[in-house]
C-alpha cells in the first residue's frame, strides 16, 4: 500500500492549490533556494495557462488513490515538469515561442551542469554554478561561446558512458548511420550538494562515512497550521538526454536542437580503441529522462520522454501500421534484426557506421491508453512548436516509498524503458529489463556507499 503519510501529504498539496489564493507575502517563510512551486492538481483542464505554470516541487496527487489515478497524477506532474524545464532559458519567453524553428530556444536545463564539468578528470572542484562549461583542449580551436560539450566515451563503458548503453549493451545508430549521443545534467540543488560535501572527487568521497542523501523538493508548511505555503524548495534533479546528429534530411522544426561540440574522449582498452577528436554538429533531441527527488518519495520520480518519430511499437510492426519515417527504424527493411546492437568495434570517429548498419528499433512495451490520452492533451497546447513532437513514455514512482523491506518502494510501472537510452533492455524480465528505480537503487559512490539513486558519483576521479 502506498504509505499513508505520503498520500496525506499529497492530498494536502492538492488542497493547497485553493489555499494558495489566500496566502499573502507575509505568510511566506523564507527558504533557500526559494522557488515558486507549481501545485496545479492533475484534475485541472489542460489549457495554455499551464505553459507558464512553472516547475512542480512535488507531485500533486488527489483521490481516489487507485493505481491508475495516482499514475495519472504523476504523469500530469511529468508533463508540468517537461514544460518547465524545456521553457526558454531567458525566463521570459513562453515555451514554443522562441525565435528558432518551431519556436525553439535554449532551454532551462541548458544552463545546468553536465557530468564532466562536475566530476572532473583531475578531481578538482567544479567551477561555480553559472560558469561556462569547460572546453576540452581538443575542442578549443573550434569552440564558440554557448556551445555545449557532449562527451562521447567513458573510460569504461558503463551506465553513464556516452558510447554504449546500460550494461555494455551497445551504441544506438540512427538511420543516417550516426551514433546517438548522450549527456547527463544536474540542477543547482544537486550540484551544490555535491560541491558542499566534496562528492566530486574520490578523495572527497573517502571522507564521507554515511550514505549520500540529496535534498528533496517540497513545499513549505507553516508550523502552526500545517498549511502548505509557498515558496517551496526545489529538489535535486538530474536529466539524461539523448541526441541525434541533425542532417539536411532532418527538419529542425520537428526537433529541439542545439549546437554542440562532439568530443570523443580517447579510449584505450579491451572494449574499444578510440582516438581523441572533436567536431561541431547540430544535435536534435530524441530522448529525455527527468529524475526529481521529492518529499515522501526518496526513490525519486522518473519521467521519460521521447521524440515521436523514434520507433514504432512492436504492435505497429505486426499490424503493418507504420509511418514513412522513423529516427531508429527503417519500414522498408524486412530482414533487419530488431533491437540488436551493432557488432564491434564501436568507434564513434567512424561515421556512418561501417557496413551500412542502422539500428532497427521497436518499442517493446506500448504506451498505455491513459498515457496516449494525456500526451494528446498536452500536444494540443504545444501545437505548431517543436515540443509537440515529444511524448511521455511513462512516469515511474514508488507505490510503497516507506517500505522497510524493499528500498525500491515497489515501483509503478514495474518496467519503463526509453528506446533511446534503454534500447536493448526493454521488456518484462525481472532484474534484466529496464526499471529506473531498481537499477539506480544499486548506485554507489567510489567507496561503495549508497549514492542516492545516481551513478554520477561513481565517475569521481
Amino acid at each position: 500500500m502506498r504509505s499513508f503519510s505520503s498520500l496525506l501529504c499529497a492530498a494536502i498539496l492538492a488542497a493547497a492549490t485553493m489555499a494558495l489564493a489566500t496566502i499573502t507575502a507575509a505568510d511566506v517563510a523564507p527558504t533557500e533556494p526559494p522557488v515558486s512551486c507549481n501545485v496545479t492538481p492533475p484534475s485541472t483542464p489542460v489549457t495554455s495557462t499551464l505553459l507558464t505554470s512553472g516547475l512542480p516541487c512535488k507531485a500533486a496527487i488527489i483521490a481516489p488513490f487507485t493505481i491508475e489515478n495516482i499514475q495519472h497524477g504523476f504523469d500530469f506532474y511529468s508533463w508540468l515538469t517537461f514544460l518547465a524545464v524545456n521553457s526558454p532559458q531567458n525566463g521570459k519567453t513562453v515555451i514554443g515561442q522562441g525565435t528558432g524553428a518551431g519556436g525553439d530556444s535554449p532551454t532551462v536545463w541548458q544552463g545546468w551542469k553536465d557530468i564532466d564539468s562536475v566530476m572532473r578528470a583531475d578531481g578538482s572542484q567544479p567551477t561555480p554554478w553559472g560558469a561556462p562549461t569547460p572546453v576540452p583542449s581538443a575542442c578549443a580551436r573550434i569552440a564558440s561561446p554557448g556551445d555545449a560539450v557532449v562527451s562521447m566515451v567513458g573510460k569504461t563503458p558503463n551506465v553513464l558512458s556516452a558510447i554504449s548503453e546500460p550494461f555494455k549493451t551497445g551504441p544506438l545508430i540512427d538511420q543516417n548511420g550516426n551514433y546517438t549521443r548522450f549527456d547527463i545534467l544536474m540542477n543547482q540543488t544537486m550540484f551544490d550538494h555535491i560541491v558542499s560535501n566534496d562528492l566530486y572527487s574520490k578523495a572527497g568521497q573517502m571522507k564521507s562515512t554515511g550514505d549520500v542523501d540529496f535534498p528533496v523538493g517540497s513545499l513549505s508548511a507553516k508550523p502552526a497550521t500545517g498549511a502548505v505555503t509557498e515558496p517551496g524548495v526545489l529538489g535535486s534533479m538530474m536529466i539524461k538526454l539523448a541526441w541525434k546528429v541533425m542532417t539536411p534530411a532532418d527538419s529542425p522544426a520537428r526537433f529541439h536542437t542545439m549546437s554542440a561540440l562532439i568530443y570523443n574522449k580517447p579510449v584505450a582498452g579491451t572494449d574499444a580503441s578510440v582516438k581523441e577528436s572533436c567536431h561541431k554538429a547540430t544535435l536534435g533531441l530524441v530522448g529525455i529522462h527527468i529524475a526529481h527527488k521529492i518529499a515522501g518519495d526518496p526513490q525519486w520520480i522518473w519521467s521519460s520522454f521521447e521524440h515521436i518519430d523514434n520507433a514504432p511499437s512492436q504492435a505497429d510492426v505486426d499490424a503493418k501500421t507504420l509511418n514513412a519515417h522513423y529516427n531508429y527504424f527503417d519500414p522498408s527493411c524486412a530482414d533487419c534484426k530488431i533491437n540488436e546492437p551493432p557488432g564491434r568495434p564501436w568507434d564513434p570517429n567512424v561515421e556512418p557506421f561501417p557496413g551500412h548498419f542502422k539500428s532497427q528499433i521497436t518499442r517493446v512495451i506500448p504506451l498505455t491508453d491513459a498515457t496516449v490520452a494525456i500526451n494528446a492533451s498536452f500536444h494540443a497546447i504545444l501545437k505548431g512548436t517543436v515540443w509537440e513532437n515529444y511524448m511521455l513514455i511513462s512516469t515511474q514512482w514508488p507505490t510503497n516509498a516507506a517500505s522497510k523491506t524493499d528500498p525500491t518502494g515497489r515501483p509503478a510501472p514495474t518496467y519503463l524503458a526509453n528506446t533511446t537510452a534503454e534500447t536493448y533492455i526493454q521488456g518484462r524480465v525481472p532484474m534484466s529489463s529496464s526499471n529506473c528505480i531498481e537499477c539506480h537503487n544499486n548506485a554507489t559512490t567510489t567507496t561503495g556507499r549508497f549514492s542516492d539513486f545516481t551513478y554520477i558519483l561513481e565517475n569521481a576521479h
Partner: protein, 157 residues
C-alpha cells in the same frame, strides 16, 4: 465480497501473511491476479467450493482449519497447492499432492512449474526467511553486511 477479495482472505488464512502484503491496495505487480487465475483454471469446480466455504454466512470461525481439515480432500489439496503457489511461486497439481501424501508416495520427485517470472520473484518463502530469491534482490549493495529487518516487517501488517 468480490471473489478476488475472498481469495486474498483465504490466502492470508492459509499462509499467515498479512492480506495487505499479499495484495497491496496499490499494487503494480498484481501476482495475486495471476494466482487467482491459475487456481481457478486448474481446478475450477473445487476452486468455487473453496470460495464458497470462505464466503459462507456466518464465516467459519477458523477458516484455515475449515479448508484444510473440514471440507474433504479435494478442497484440502487445492488449498495446499494455493499455499505452495504463494510461497514458492510454483504450481503443484493437487492430485499430485494427494498422491505424495499417501502412505506409499512415489519415489520420483514431485513435479511443479513456475507460474511466471513475476511469480518467481514474489515467492513468500524468501520473505519468510528474511532473504530474497536467487538472482533477484531489491536490496542495496552491501546489504549482506547488515542484519535483515524484522520478520514482521516482511510478512506482518
Amino acid at each position: 465480497m468480490a471473489d478476488m477479495d475472498t481469495f486474498v482472505a483465504i490466502s492470508a488464512a492459509l499462509t499467515g501473511i498479512d492480506p495487505g502484503k499479499l495484495a497491496p491496495g496499490v499494487d503494480p505487480i498484481k501476482v495475486s491476479a495471476e494466482y487467482f487465475q491459475k487456481a481457478s483454471t486448474e481446478a475450477p469446480d473445487v476452486f468455487k467450493r473453496v470460495l464458497s466455504i470462505a464466503s459462507a454466512t456466518p464465516p467459519p470461525a477458523n477458516l484455515a482449519d475449515a479448508l484444510l481439515n473440514g471440507s474433504g480432500d479435494d478442497v484440502r489439496f487445492l488449498c495446499r497447492s494455493i499455499m505452495l503457489m504463494w510461497f514458492l511461486g510454483s504450481w503443484f497439481n493437487p492430485n499430485d499432492l494427494k498422491l505424495y501424501a499417501s502412505a506409499i508416495p512415489p519415489a520420483a520427485p514431485i513435479s511443479s512449474s513456475v507460474v511466471s517470472s513475476k511469480a518467481y520473484t514474489q515467492g513468500w518463502v524468501w520473505a519468510a526467511a528474511q532473504a530474497h530469491p536467487m538472482g533477484y534482490s531489491t536490496l542495496r549493495f552491501g546489504y549482506w553486511n547488515q542484519p535483515p529487518v524484522a520478520l514482521n516487517d516482511f510478512i506482518g501488517a
